[in-house]
Amino acid sequence: MSSESKPKKGKSSLAKRRALFSWLIPLANLRITLALLSFSMVLIFVATLEQVEIGIRGAQAKYFESLLGIWHYPEQFWGGEFLNPVPIPIPGGWLLGGLLIINLTAAYVTRFQWTVKKFGIQLIHLGIIMLLVGQLVTQAIQEESRMQINKGESSNYIERFHGVELALTDVTDPSRETVVSIPQELLEKGGSISSGDLPFEVTVKSFGPNCDFDAVSSKDQREGSSKEVDQGVGHSANLSIKPKSEDYSSEAMNFGHLVFELSDETGSLGTWLALAHPAGNHWWKESPKLADLAFQPIRHKGKLWGVTLRAKREYLPYSIELLGIANEFYQGTETPFNFESDIMIKMEGNETRRALVYMNTPLRHDGKTFYQFQMNNAADYTVFQVIRNPSWLVPYLACIIVSIGLLWQFGFHLVRFLRKNSLQKA
């Protein structure tokens, strides 16, 4: 990880730095580096085991996107019946990653010689620090979404895989719609929410990422906050909801729920219930009684608003039309070796761009990357996984820096060796 050799040229500088940053010296200990890397291995092992039970997203949230995860020794392992009840704290990804960054930076400052001779080593460590910081930034700001397009149709929005929003849409104007969306983070906070674009105030009565719901025979039989609902589908279909915790498994069916009151200067307009369908709110139309959950109409001062709780949506300044789809299989097998979507991007000013998106060849457009994700040839639609990661270049830069560092270091030694060798021969 580091070099302890101290040539004369860098010695004075290093001594100055060690004096200036003496408090960093204990943090630069190589033993800490090794301990953190060992804990990282344990973390990956534990998270891999847990992934079977709680799914990829659950394991990611519990162990990698946290400071500390609590693990229970599997019951089916040797001695599991005794060890399983004992909660074992596992250092989380953020804790280990953060400590590694501190450890490497401290080593960089207090142990490395900033000389040309050691420049390669410095570059290698700088690259590794960039990788760690880049991953931290990616975790913080990367957004993953999906875009589904039917063949021959266009789409101008992407939907997040996780998280919902309350969308209130004014559809009165035949030439355009105004969509005011309140993200899950604000719904979780609760309280009253207002916007200059909304003629009413939204007061959150209850919100949760998942629930069981049921049509009951009378209002008295409704449970919890659904008792307060006196408007919309929650009222007409007499829906009762039982909140439950979010399911992180890959087959999860999380029905987000929201009970909210609308009010304007005249007072309360009523209380509504909104439910988000995990497979998209168009599925509500399959059930006539619940069909309006996709668009609960609210008439207010001569305008028609529709309200729905749906997957968090981001509208794009361009649309993508699906011209055609194709999938190919390895000869004589059902194993696909290629899915491809032939698309046309329609931008402002009638500008268009045609592209072919296929496995391992994504489309990069306007800061987003579109990967071929799913495809249904029989049903004629394609699904892209859409990633927005402004720090996507960081790992590439980090690898280049590490490579230059390695070349520099080995090159330096090689030149020195060759010189020495030629001198000896002479």
């Binding site: 040309v116 913080a140 700001i141 983070e185 069981d212 009684k289 028609l304």
Partner: protein, 345 residues
């Protein structure tokens, strides 16, 4: 050589690092209320209004009513005003006769209607205005005022029913109300709001208990989806493909006709009615229970599906795709249905 240890170099290094990190983190979205203006997506009808202060809204809507109102008086709610959209052009005579018989006019003809009908402009719109008064000698005879507005091929009817004095007193408000309306028929049918329903099958979202079944050997696992309990595909290697799915939903999911019409639409066949349903549907038995088998085909696509109601849930077993391959796989589909078993042996 030791230029890296100089103060300017350190300052520059810190500045570059901080600016890179700051720019990266500044890209993250904050949780705020967002407003977007988009091209129209909503395909339903848009019917809105501004009510006069002296009017109130009737909560119970019936029949084709999109809105129903009353006039607030000291003696309680009086009169009835409505908004009734019709997708097709309906003649003034038909409209008038909907109400005429009730108040003693008998059946009107074009000749008898003519003196009762006038053209009136309200705001920017032209209305047909029909006024009918009860054919009995009473102080305040029941009066029916019909305002008809025609736009494209749609007809919008605004009936105002009440005592003559009430109708006369509210004429100005009625005109203001008509002027305030936004009327736009959508692609989807206009539907009155329903009242709280009687006890009904619960749309329990909890996962259904899937039955056992045997999958034909040439069917391979298909695209998984959260709505599908099973998904398979069939590929004959010559470009013909089939998609097979098993889904289950609470209740009847709109009924047999609605589901069959949805599927017919998917393979490019015109929707049918109750009478025409017979040519696509026939009864079968699945695991000892009565079910419906649906068969339909277009020029190049075909579908075989079975619908089973069990414990207030609808079960759909559907095979669709290339017509040629579907016909070959029909026997396998039947074998699959025979293998469906809800009870554990």
């Amino acid at each position: 050589m030791n230029c890296f240890s100089t103060i300017p170099f350190k300052v520059a290094l810190v500045c570059v690092t901080v600016s890179i990190l700051a720019s990266l983190f500044s890209c993250s979205d904050e949780a705020t209320v967002k407003t977007s203006v988009i091209a129209p997506e909503y395909t339903g009808p848009v019917v809105t209004w501004i009510l006069p202060e002296t009017w109130g809204e009737n909560p119970a809507l019936a029949g084709p009513m999109a809105g129903s109102f009353h006039v607030k008086t000291g003696e309680g709610p009086q009169g009835r005003i409505g908004v009734m959209p019709f997708r097709e052009s309906v003649s003034s005579l038909e409209m008038a006769n909907m109400f005429a018989r009730e108040i003693g006019y008998g059946t009107l003809t074009n000749e008898t209607l003519a003196p009762l009908l006038e053209k009136k402009t309200v705001g920017t719109r032209d209305f047909e205005w029909i006024r009918l008064e009860e054919q009995r000698k009473e102080e305040t005879p029941k009066t029916v005022l019909l305002a008809l507005y025609r736009k494209d091929s749609q007809t919008w009817l605004f009936p105002f029913i009440g005592g003559r004095d009430l109708v006369d007193a509210e004429l100005e408000n009625f005109s203001l109300f008509l002027e305030s309306t936004v009327l736009r028929a959508g692609i989807e049918p206009i539907r009155a709001l329903s009242q709280p329903v009687s006890p009904s099958p619960a749309p329990a979202p909890s996962g259904p208990i899937a039955p056992d079944w045997s999958i034909p050997s040439n069917w391979t696992p298909g695209q998984a989806s959260s709505m599908r309990l099973a998904s398979y595909k069939v590929n004959d290697g010559q470009g013909n493909k089939l998609d097979f799915s098993v889904t289950s939903f609470p209740g009847d999911v709109g009924g047999l006709l609605a589901n069959v019409n949805r599927w017919l639409g998917q393979i490019g066949v015109q929707p049918t009615d109750d009478e025409g349903l017979k040519q696509f549907v026939r009864p079968i038995m699945i695991d000892g229970l009565s079910a419906q088998l649906v068969e339909a085909s277009s020029a190049d696509k075909a579908l075989y599906a079975a619908i089973l109601m069990r414990d207030n849930r609808s079960w759909f077993f559907k095979l669709s795709g290339s017509k040629t391959l579907a016909q070959k796989e029909k026997e396998n589909f039947s074998a699959f249905l025979e293998s469906v078993c809800f009870h554990k042996p």
